[in-house]
């Protein structure tokens, strides 16, 4: 068993290096004089998909390599730990969300949020046009399919919008649009960028009500690092985030290219190009705003943090503004 433990990360790294060298092309070859490359890992929160398109661009266009950083992108999954590898040091940075990060901190994990990829939370209520949920009040009298684990999210939405939770029938479902299409529920609690896209691919245009448009202010796809890394591995953090910012800035200009790159980079992930293109376009308004236009990708302000703290309080998470640390972004954006 021991042997595997040592062999496999090697293989992974070599494979990534190989993929990197192949895709970097000339840009990758033409970087002489780098004394050494630092190996770090970025723990993604889900399986490879265009959800992390900006990171793939950073790798593909050498934004990390030119700083002497070799970043392994670790996929997540339905049973994948995201926060523990960051605590354990396997990953330098993890992609979490403000609520998960707050929960982890409550349990003693020394995290700080150092950047925010999704300014608007992607949670949405998806329904069918014949029986739509367009505003929160429409939820009353409806059957909603969701994981019971997300009850606090629904409760928060109801509190924010004076909706009677007792009027909603919650049906526990797996994360899948089939129960909605089979008529087992009237609406689903899901991400605006996945199940509605899957339905659109089947020519079913769902009505999606973005919860962020109804007071649910919660940073998602947040970059987290430990206090220890912030103190001792600052250069690597800055280099990693610089690559992320550059990659995502390119992404905003051409989401289609990001989708094509994703499908090309991960031929074994079973990705469908049309689906990835649509997902890439739909997540743009969640990630880029006048705030990021002005200050750059990943930015947050005391105001957005305060709004997050209020939503977190509704979710039963008691955190203060010190959970967010903007020093890395400030160094990058020269604020």
């Amino acid at each position: 068993m021991k042997r595997h433990r040592t062999i496999i990360p090697d293989l992974t790294r070599r494979r990534l290096l190989g993929a990197g060298a192949a895709t970097l092309g000339l840009a990758g070859l033409a970087r002489p004089g780098l004394a050494q490359t630092q190996d770090v890992a970025l723990q993604l929160s889900w399986l490879h998909s265009v959800q992390f398109g900006g990171s793939y661009i950073a790798q593909d266009r050498g934004y990390w390599a030119e700083q002497g950083l070799d970043v392994a992108l670790l996929p997540g999954g339905p049973n994948a730990p995201v926060e523990p590898p960051v605590v354990a040091g396997t990953a330098l940075v993890g992609i979490s969300a403000a609520d998960y990060t707050a929960a982890a901190v409550e349990q003693g994990a020394p995290f700080r949020i150092i950047g925010v990829a999704m300014q608007k939370n992607p949670f949405a209520i998806a329904s069918l046009p014949a029986n739509p949920v367009e505003v929160p009040k429409d939820l009353e009298g409806k059957r909603i399919g969701m994981a019971l684990a997300n009850m606090p999210v629904l409760e928060a939405l109801c509190t924010l919008n004076d909706v009677a939770l007792s009027e909603i029938e919650v049906v526990p479902t797996q994360y899948d649009a089939a129960p909605l299409l089979a008529g087992q529920v009237d609406c689903l609690l899901c991400w605006a960028t996945d199940l509605p896209v899957a339905m659109a691919m089947e020519d079913i245009e769902a009505v999606t009500m973005l919860m962020a448009d109804h007071g649910y202010a919660l940073h998602s796809q947040t970059y987290i690092a430990t206090e220890e890394s912030l103190a001792e591995r600052r250069d690597e953090l800055v280099a990693l985030m610089r690559g992320e910012v550059a990659g995502w800035t390119d992404y905003a200009e051409d989401p289609d290219a990001a989708a094509r790159l994703t499908v090309r980079m991960f031929p074994d992930a079973g990705l469908d190009l049309a689906t990835q293109v649509m997902q890439a376009e739909r997540q743009v308004p969640l990630m880029f705003s006048s705030l990021t236009d002005e200050h750059g990708f990943g930015w947050f302000t005391p105001d957005t943090v305060a709004a997050n703290i209020e939503t977190l309080a509704l979710l039963g998470r008691d955190v203060g503004p010190e959970l967010w640390d903007r020093s890395i972004l400030e160094e990058l954006h020269g604020a």
């Binding site: 068993m1 595997h4 433990r5 496999i8 990360p9 293989l11 992974t12 890992a41 399986l47 490879h48 392994a72 670790l74 996929p75 997540g76 999954g77 339905p78 049973n79 994948a80 730990p81 926060e83 523990p84 590898p85 605590v87 354990a88 396997t90 998960y100 929960a103 982890a104 409550e106 349990q107 003693g108 994990a109 994981a147 019971l148 684990a149 049906v171 526990p172 479902t173 797996q174 994360y175 899948d176 649009a177 089939a178 129960p179 299409l181 089979a182 087992q184 996945d194 199940l195 899957a198 339905m199 691919m201 991960f266 031929p267 074994d268 992930a269 079973g270 990705l271 469908d272 689906t275």
Partner: protein, 534 residues
């Protein structure tokens, strides 16, 4: 008419599917395919079922992708299969050389085997980092216990006189092991490997859920979320096909190494029960202490961070001595009660169905032609792909979950009971035949009592299987009970609750196993006292 019919079944042939003539089997398969296609067409638009035609088209169109995924999963499953079985062989050898350790080691092996996949997966991922480590370890964990049990029976299935012969040459236990026991155990090992092969594939797929780059498990997740029913079913069938192929391949191996394959599941209920009650309690205490020491020591040795790798003391504080222990207990026990309410009916239904169908096949051997392939297929389709489909088809209420548990229990029970029914002594059957006793009476009076030891062996093995089934279904499909609680706590960093749930599930498995063994002993004292003497 009665005698030839029964005699045909009484033949000691293990390849049960050969019972029916070939024509029956072909007809059965064609009929099933037609029914499946019809069902799929009737349910078109519900995104639940894809028919054989759609599956075939999807398979051909995505042959390259599916082939690469299949290879990734199979390679990991094969490594896990190898390591798991080597571990089982090592454990069996230790037990044979130091018999006093048997009770402890087998109990610990059971405990580890019962650890829920939803909980062990993320921990292995943290311990191994990126790569194939968790897939391989989960595959190994899925196979080692059944192989160990098979070996323990096999290594003892040796005539005393052979061992005496070795001793008379002045050779010790090592020589006995090498020259006599290992040879005698070969057929049992092959039989154990046959059961283990499909399990390794399931383990590898679950391992992929912890963050893998490729594999059938990865494609399953993608397909379910993308409403790609054709892909979901193609992957499920591919995985099932591989599992069945492995099952049959080791079955063929088994027939080569053993002219008269062993009645594997006729393992006696273990040495634990032959002890007095007081010594039993002391043994249990030792077992718990060793398990706790391994838990604490293992985590310390691996240097796992206490943020997610909780130690026994943390769980004690969380559940008993801490300030909010009462509310923690309430949450845990509520989920636990919900889980038990699904597990028990499913477990009992699976046992009843397996035993019932075995009896039905004995009465009407033609049934085997249709029933056996369906039974093997049901059992081989990895539960990670079937659980969401079954729940979607049967609803989110209790029926779906109970069915999943029953399906997992049903097939091993059927196989064991068919073997058991054939154990009825030939002369007893002849006496019944000579009095022109009907098939039904022969079954009830002669065969069923002979079946009981095998039935109970299946009931014991069904305990971990039921726990695996229910926690997986709750995690992936219904979102209720302790399986869902474990998934939730892992995502919200509530690792104290996660480890509390793991402890509770493992303890339940051990207790349920003991309880079944007790019932077994009470029943066998009446119907099969020869099983208890050794």
């Amino acid at each position: 008419m009665t005698a030839p019919a029964t005699r045909r079944v009484a033949r000691p042939a293990v390849p049960v599917v050969r019972v029916g003539p070939l024509a029956w089997r072909v007809l059965g398969v064609v009929g099933l395919l037609l029914a499946w296609e019809a069902l799929a067409r009737l349910n078109a638009g519900s995104y639940v079922l894809a028919g054989p035609v759609a599956v075939a088209i999807h398979g051909v169109e995505h042959a390259g992708l599916l082939g690469r995924a299949l290879r990734a999963t199979l390679v990991n499953a094969a490594w896990g299969f190898l390591w798991g079985n080597l571990a089982a062989i090592g454990l069996a050898a230790v037990i044979l050389l130091v018999p006093r350790l048997e009770r402890l080691l087998v109990a610990l092996a059971l405990l580890v085997f019962c650890l829920p996949l939803v909980a062990t997966g993320p921990i292995l991922r943290v311990a191994y980092g990126p790569g194939d480590g968790p897939q391989i370890v989960l595959a190994a964990l899925a196979v080692y216990y059944t192989t160990l049990l098979a070996l323990l029976v096999g290594l003892r299935a040796v005539p005393r006189s052979w061992l005496d012969l070795v001793e008379s040459y002045g050779r010790g236990a090592g020589a006995q092991l090498l020259h006599v026991r290992a040879m005698a155990a070969l057929p049992y090992l092959a039989a154990g490997l046959q059961i283990a092969a499909p399990a390794a594939i399931l383990g590898a797929m679950v391992g992929e859920f912890t963050g893998a780059e490729r594999g059938l498990g990865v494609l399953t997740i993608r397909a379910t979320r993308a409403l790609d029913v054709d892909a979901t079913w193609t992957i499920a069938l591919l995985a099932a096909g591989m599992a069945m192929a492995a099952y049959w391949a080791f079955g063929a191996l088994l027939r080569r190494v053993a002219s008269d394959p062993p009645a594997l599941l006729l393992a006696p209920p273990g040495p634990a029960l032959r002890r007095g009650r007081r010594r039993g309690a002391a043994g249990a205490a030792v077992m718990i202490l060793v398990a706790l020491a391994l838990w604490q020591g293992g985590m310390d040795a691996l240097g796992l961070n206490s943020y997610f790798a909780k130690r026994p003391g943390d769980v004690l504080t969380f559940l008993v001595t801490g300030p909010e222990a009462a509310s923690h207990r309430a949450t845990l026990l509520a989920a636990y009660a919900e889980t038990l309410a699904y597990t028990l009916p499913g477990y009992l239904a699976g046992l009843a169905l397996g035993a019932g169908l075995a009896c039905a096949i004995t009465l009407a051997p033609g049934l085997a032609a249709v029933a056996m392939p369906v039974a093997v297929a049901l059992r081989s389709v990895p539960i990670v792909t079937t659980a969401p489909l079954l729940v979607l088809a049967l609803g989110r209420g209790s029926v779906g979950t109970i069915t999943i548990v029953a399906v997992m229990i049903f097939f091993p029970t059927l196989v064991a009971c068919l073997q058991g029914l054939r154990q009825a002594p030939g002369d007893v059957i002849d006496i019944f035949a000579s009095y022109a006793t009907g098939r039904w009476r022969t079954l009830v009076l002669a065969r069923v009592p002979a079946m009981l030891p095998a039935f109970f062996a299946a009931a014991r093995m069904g305990v971990p299987a039921a726990i695996l089934a229910v926690t997986t279904a709750e995690w992936l499909a219904t979102g209720r009970g302790i399986g869902s609680l474990m998934a939730l706590t892992a995502s919200t960093s509530d690792y104290n609750m996660l480890w509390s749930a793991i402890t509770l599930v493992a303890l339940t498995a051990a207790l349920a196993h003991t309880l079944v063994a007790r019932i077994e002993r009470a029943v066998l004292r009446v119907y099969g006292p020869e099983q208890l003497a050794r």
